[in-house]
């Protein structure tokens, strides 16, 4: 079909937005790192920074290996069998993915922290960081690899079995070779998330020994005001991340190995497979649910260990006299405000983008849609501060940054839905006299409802939980829930600890409620 004027307009709008609010800040960082008082040389000659780069890479690799080792069996079994409760579990697996980092961090703190339920203080150890990273990314492996295999594998596995290959042999000779590109893609994504890990580290392992580059950039910017060195580190991180992203995009292309996708009825597991599946599910469920339950328990535990008690919530809600402490009400109001406005922005930009790519000649845009996903929030926030100095006094940088961070999720939810629309509908509308605008309004948008809801819920969750960029751009009166939680956590005393737990519980419930309300029916493509 010929591209319509509408796709051109929307393509230009989306490009302009991305250029100003995504590329420009990065370019400013680039400029900053090459001029000034030899920041580049100072960073390059400091072994401490090389050590940080090594640690950041090492922990990300380790996290990735662990996540894949745990997630792969789950993915294979998920793709292969039907079992009771599969749909509920599938939904449960997305919980960590949409739960704010701060909530997960606090959850693990409630289990393994100084006042942890298990009486085992793992704070400031690599173990706790790895555990949290696995919690976060397990779902990615299961969803990406499992989803990829589920479309085609059942029939191929049957074919393998009639050719003499039992369950293990078929896994080895069919499932694994087929899943290989999907597995690599998932691992790359996991690596990226762990490489730029920020909230988890800041909450669970605030020791300099375990600081990632992302944490280091934050410290240099917010506490040491060494903007030049921060820019160099941000650039280094950007280079690694871009290289890995490029690799991921390549693999995405290979993912489109033409598998015959058809919905097959899956068999129920028997014998040994049943035991393995059961064990895997129990471990996964424990990993996902225990931190959240521990958090809820701690938040509702009053002085002297009474349970349930609203004491912590009351402390959190009390408007504090101390500067820098946002009360529950204020933080919740700020969070909802930012989340709503950034969802609107993300939907507008994401839709303009998806429409331009799906309907017009904007293939280039398609290539860069994943970049914001890979660009770390700290880098983005830092870039905003450098590019738009006015943001020091104004809060609008926060929803913009949130919208950009949510953009890949929105775009990847809307794009397949738009592509899936029958082009004959557009043609039919055109022959009935509707221009592109009317076609969009009367034919296409009504069919995109579920995808728009999915996109909106993703954007909302991202904004509710966003921590890094907010921390850099925030002023006390605009503190969001994650920032308020972090503030409380930083003060000594059981009172503040309890209030942080209570705030985290509220954040968890609000995010969960929004995700449940905006039911996810569509499927996004990562």
């Amino acid at each position: 079909m010929r591209p319509s004027w509408l796709s051109t307009v929307l393509g230009v709008a989306a490009s302009a937005f991305l250029a100003v609010f995504f590329l420009l800040p990065l370019v400013v960082i680039l400029g900053r790192s090459f001029h000034g008082a030899g920041a580049l040389a100072r960073v390059a000659s400091n072994p401490f920074y090389w050590q940080r780069l090594g640690f950041t890479t090492g922990q990300a690799l380790l996290s990735t290996v662990l996540t894949v080792a745990l997630g792969l069996p789950g993915a294979l079994l998920f793709a292969r069998y039907a079992f009771f409760g599969k749909r509920v579990l599938n939904a449960a697996f997305t919980i960590p993915f949409v739960m704010p980092t701060v909530v997960a961090g606090i959850g693990f703190l409630a289990l393994f922290g100084p006042r942890g339920l298990l009486g085992l203080d793992l704070r400031n150890t690599l173990w706790l960081v790895l555990l949290a990273h696995v919690f976060y990314n397990y779902a990615i492996v299961v969803r990406v690899v499992g989803g990829f295999l589920e479309g085609a594998a059942p029939r191929l596995l049957e074919a393998a079995s009639t050719l003499g290959a039992g369950a293990w042999r078929a896994t080895l000779r069919v499932s694994l070779p087929l899943a290989w590109p999907a597995l690599l893609a998932a691992a790359t994504l996991v690596f990226l998330f762990c490489f730029t890990s920020f909230g988890v580290i800041l909450i669970l392992a605030p020791t300099p020994r375990l600081a990632t580059l992302e944490v280091e950039i934050y410290q240099l910017t917010a506490h040491l005001l060494e903007l030049g060195q921060a820019a160099v580190l941000a650039l280094a991180q950007l280079l690694v991340v871009s290289a890995v992203t490029l690799l991921y995009t390549r693999m995405q292309a290979r993912l489109s190995l033409p598998l015959p996708a058809r919905a097959e009825a899956l068999p129920r597991p028997r014998g040994g497979a049943r035991a393995v599946l059961g064990l895997n599910l129990v471990v996964a469920a424990a990993l996902i649910l225990t931190p959240l339950l521990a958090l809820a328990f701690r938040a509702l535990q009053g002085p002297g260990g009474r349970f349930p008690s609203l004491a912590n919530l009351r402390i959190a809600a009390h408007p504090s006299a101390v500067i820098g402490f946002a009360s529950l009400g204020l933080a919740l109001r700020n969070s909802l405000l930012f989340a709503t406005s950034s969802t609107v922005v993300a939907l507008l930009i994401g839709f303009a983008f998806a429409y331009a790519v799906a309907r017009g000649r904007w293939r280039v845009l398609d290539q860069i849609s994943l970049l914001p996903l890979a660009t770390s929030p700290i880098t983005l926030g830092f870039g905003y501060l450098l590019a738009f100095p006015v943001l020091v006094a104004h809060p609008w940088g926060i929803p913009l940054a949130h919208a950009l961070i949510a953009f890949p999720f929105v775009a990847r939810s809307l794009l397949p839905a738009l592509r899936g629309l029958d082009p004959a509908h557009g043609a039919a509308a055109a022959t009935l006299g509707a221009g592109p605008w009317h076609t969009l309004w009367r034919v296409e948008l009504p069919q995109l409802g579920p995808a728009l809801l999915t996109a909106a819920s993703f954007a909302f969750a991202v904004s509710m939980g966003e921590f890094g960029a907010t921390l850099l751009l925030v002023r006390p009166e605009y503190a969001t829930l994650p920032v308020a939680i972090y503030d409380r956590l930083g003060r000594p005393g059981a009172q503040h600890y309890g209030a942080a737990m209570a705030l985290a519980l509220v954040l968890m419930l609000v995010t969960g409620a929004v995700m449940t309300l905006l039911q996810r029916r569509g499927r996004s493509e990562f």
Binding site: A165, G166, L178, L257
Partner: protein, 344 residues
Amino acid sequence: MSLRLEELRKHYGTTRAVDGVSLELGERETLALLGPSGCGKSTLLRLAAGLEAPDGGRVTLNGADITALPPQRRRFGMVFQDYALFPHLDVARNIAFGLVELGWAREEQRRRVEELLELVGLSGLERRRVQQLSGGQQQRVALARALAPRPEVLLLDEPLSNLDQTLREALKEELHGLLSSLPVRAVYVTHDQSEAFAIARRVAIMRAGRITQAGTREDVLERPRSGWLARFLGHRNLFAGGDLAVVPTAPRGDTVLLRADLTSLLPAGAAAAAGAAEGAAVTRARVRRARREGLRWRLELDLPEWKLELAWEGYARELAEPPGEGAELLLRVPADAWLALEEP
């Protein structure tokens, strides 16, 4: 020495997909399992392959009960409707898949693959990716892959249904030749009767989870047991016994089939005696509607003497001029064109 399915049953929820089916397949025999979609024929095939566990009944091979044996230990080859070729393997590796499981030496594998590629006419395509093959080629690779480990039984699940008409015709002939030349017994599932009768000498007709009739193809074609089967095979002239009271040569029965393909049309002036030899009846026929389909005619006839309407198809060679609407003709009905059916 045979494959026997005994009283096999399989239900999904309240649907009885296979409802007590027994079949036997001898050495080197090809059986076609024919039925409309949703009749349970594919499920029956999957039960035979071991891909589904039956709710009741047994599968025996050469006298041994293999009902509980998983598919990988049955040595049944299967050709899937969508071929299910492994997209990560090339043609040769697809064909050798089962040989690897059997632990064949590399050199033997290579020879067997070569042999099979020659058999299915794809020599030289060993290293081709399966996605680059045409539908017909993929179908041949799937067949070669199933045959490679010399299976006890070859099961084919609608193997031609994804191909276009011309290709289907050609491959039908080829498959028939191949299956009758190879020392393998085969079950061929299809909903297309021309396929079933072209490929197998024995045909079993399945309806709603049961076998309604099984026998040689001549048996099934010429002596359908039920009205449903007669209609399924394309017969259109079925009468209730009561309607045939005035027809002198018609047999008694509740459901009677008149095989119009055995009748012939004569010009009105033909000597009645010429047509009426050997127990045949001749009656007046008026053409109500006439439609040409290529060389053949499709006619709707009124038979005023017998008070019947008849759908008639054929070349009408005996007529001097085309049978226009309203034309008065004679219809010659031999005695064996009438068939009293056992079931409606």
